[in-house]
Symmetry: C2
Subunit: 348 residues, 2 copies
């Protein structure tokens, strides 16, 4: 299901010969329109008609108005049930394009061609599609698998360094929840550039795919992928609401530090491992000033997190580097302590 | 999966004890709020908190704005993934509530308690959820099964006679595509009132459920359920666009007459059977004046029907009473002839 593309995109061209799609709609944002679409179109060999759909870049565009706009364009262009949507972009494009495909005429086929490190290692895999609603991330969406995921690592060379860093947070997470060797390899990278990261992308994708294969609907083990995302999402939402968005990876790095410390407070992980992890994350990510948000404001958002049920706050936490637990309910007191721990890091 | 409710709704109460839902959201429209909700609430035995969500009645409310409204209310009320939506109403409520449930937080559970004949025999079964977009019916939606369907036939006693007639069209269709005995029983009913129809509801639901079980995603045999709906939907859309909506069942009856005649033109069915069917439908349904719509306008909508692929117009037609074919492509000439045949019926 995941395939790496050679220079001629021959795997993708082969895929397109296997099914008879009535038309191909390539969804891009301004950035991938400029940087990635010419490469894709230059290599595509198909007699099927191709249309380009463009949306504005940015998480704030991942809303229902953009979805309505795309549904309407598809309707006006008479896209039928045998149309294919190709999501060429980062997580916003794959989440949005997947949701529109999953719901247009009750579902048409789509494939993901992730162009960012974050989309390659995380968003493009696992069939989570969705849009944000009222400042809540991914509040509306579906579980719908792409027909295929095609990865062209050279797209990463066009990526700004902060975008590489953003995806790198998810790679670290994969190491932390499932594979100590992966974590060790990643933390040993000195310069975080595309060339040094690319050799590790495949392993990171495998870890995510393995977890998703075991539990597609996130009823048990898939929840471990939420490590770092409970507190991370809460802060990401608050910054977004203030129109001062932070990168998803920055939020996850922040969340992983808090939730590692929380794992220690809950007696799940040793102090030594906790310190090693936090040191490893901090060697790649600067701390973020969260002083404008009170602990109460952060906890209030946790309560409405998608992953909760029956009003309990569920966390995915760590046993050690390479092993995670899920459905762990924490006392608010310890959540607050972990936030205060992070605040102190910022001050030092 | 389909259960008929006794006077105490004990089957529903038993269902609610089997799973631990965090909250129950009952979706109603003004009509079911007044006529059906008191009966449901009077019989419900549960300690789970209950909330009522109300939407305005009518097909024109089955749009994305209503869906957004419901998603936002659920978000504001902190509905979690273990919440249950109970769709208490006709097809608009079950289609809309199913779509909102299928997409809120990537999917929460829902059950259907259909209150109209149309919803009992058709909309509530088979997992088709959806909303209309730009005057196209069900352009956006999902295939998502309810956890259960609970039928309380006495709700039909509160229904106006035109609403009964509307659902009766789908029952006739079930007979025509799959069960000659069902067709015969239905056409022998002299007075179409609730009392006379109720004994046949179970069989009609079974026919639909059997077809859906064989082909959930409508890749083959499920398409036979679209008999009467290709031309029927086209006219229904045109009347809706003019703000002079006709009942779904009236549209289907109209469509079934045209498509039976089309089956004869395409040499699929004998002239004798065709006449018997058309006579049977006309004995229950008056013809509708479609003179304000040209054949070109009607055919133009057929081209964008969800059921088409690669720009061909696909029909589900009849071999005889009780047997249907699908993916049958017709020449426009014959489609036009069948529309003209119907126009002539109106004039006589």
């Amino acid at each position: 299901m995941i395939q790496f593309l050679d220079q001629n995109f021959s795997q993708l061209n082969h895929f397109l010969t296997k099914d008879t799609y009535s038309r191909i709609f390539i969804l891009v944002d301004e950035n991938t329109h400029e940087n990635c679409l010419p490469i894709l179109l230059g290599n595509l060999e198909t007699s099927t008609e191709i249309e380009i759909l463009e949306i504005e870049a940015g998480e704030e565009m991942k809303n229902i108005q953009t979805a309505i706009h795309l549904w309407e364009i598809l309707t006006e262009m008479h896209a039928d049930r045998k149309a294919l949507i190709v999501n060429l972009g980062g997580g916003v494009v794959t989440d949005m394009g997947g949701f529109v495909a999953a719901t247009y005429k009750r579902g048409i086929s789509f494939i993901n061609v992730p162009t960012t490190l974050l989309a390659m290692c995380d968003a493009s895999i696992g069939g989570k599609t969705g849009i944000d609603l009222m400042h809540y991330k991914n509040m509306v969406g579906t579980f719908s698998l792409p027909e295929h995921i095609f990865v062209y690592p050279s797209f990463l060379s066009t990526l700004p360094s902060d975008q590489l860093l953003s995806g790198f947070a998810e790679m670290l997470k994969h190491g932390l929840i499932a594979d100590k060797n992966h974590w060790n390899s990643l933390t040993q990278i000195s310069d975080l550039d595309a060339e040094n990261i690319i050799p590790h992308v495949k392993r990171s994708m495998e870890i995510k795919q393995n977890v998703v294969d075991k539990d597609f609907h996130e009823e048990n083990i898939r929840k471990t992928l939420n490590f770092g995302h409970t507190i991370g999402h809460s802060l990401e939402s608050l910054f977004l609401e203030d129109n001062t968005p932070i990168l998803h990876g920055e939020a996850v790095a922040l969340g992983m530090i808090c939730e590692t410390y929380l794992s220690k407070l809950e007696n799940l992980i040793s102090e030594e491992q906790s310190e090693t992890i936090i040191k490893g994350i901090r060697s790649k990510f600067s701390t973020i000033d969260i002083s404008k948000y009170s602990n109460e404001a952060i906890v209030a958002i946790l309560v409405n997190d998608k992953k909760n049920s029956n009003s309990n706050i569920n966390f995915s936490l760590l046993h050690c580097i390479g092993a995670a637990v899920f459905n762990h309910q924490c006392q608010t007191e310890n959540i607050v302590k972990s936030l205060n721990y992070y605040r102190n890091l910022c001050n030092n």
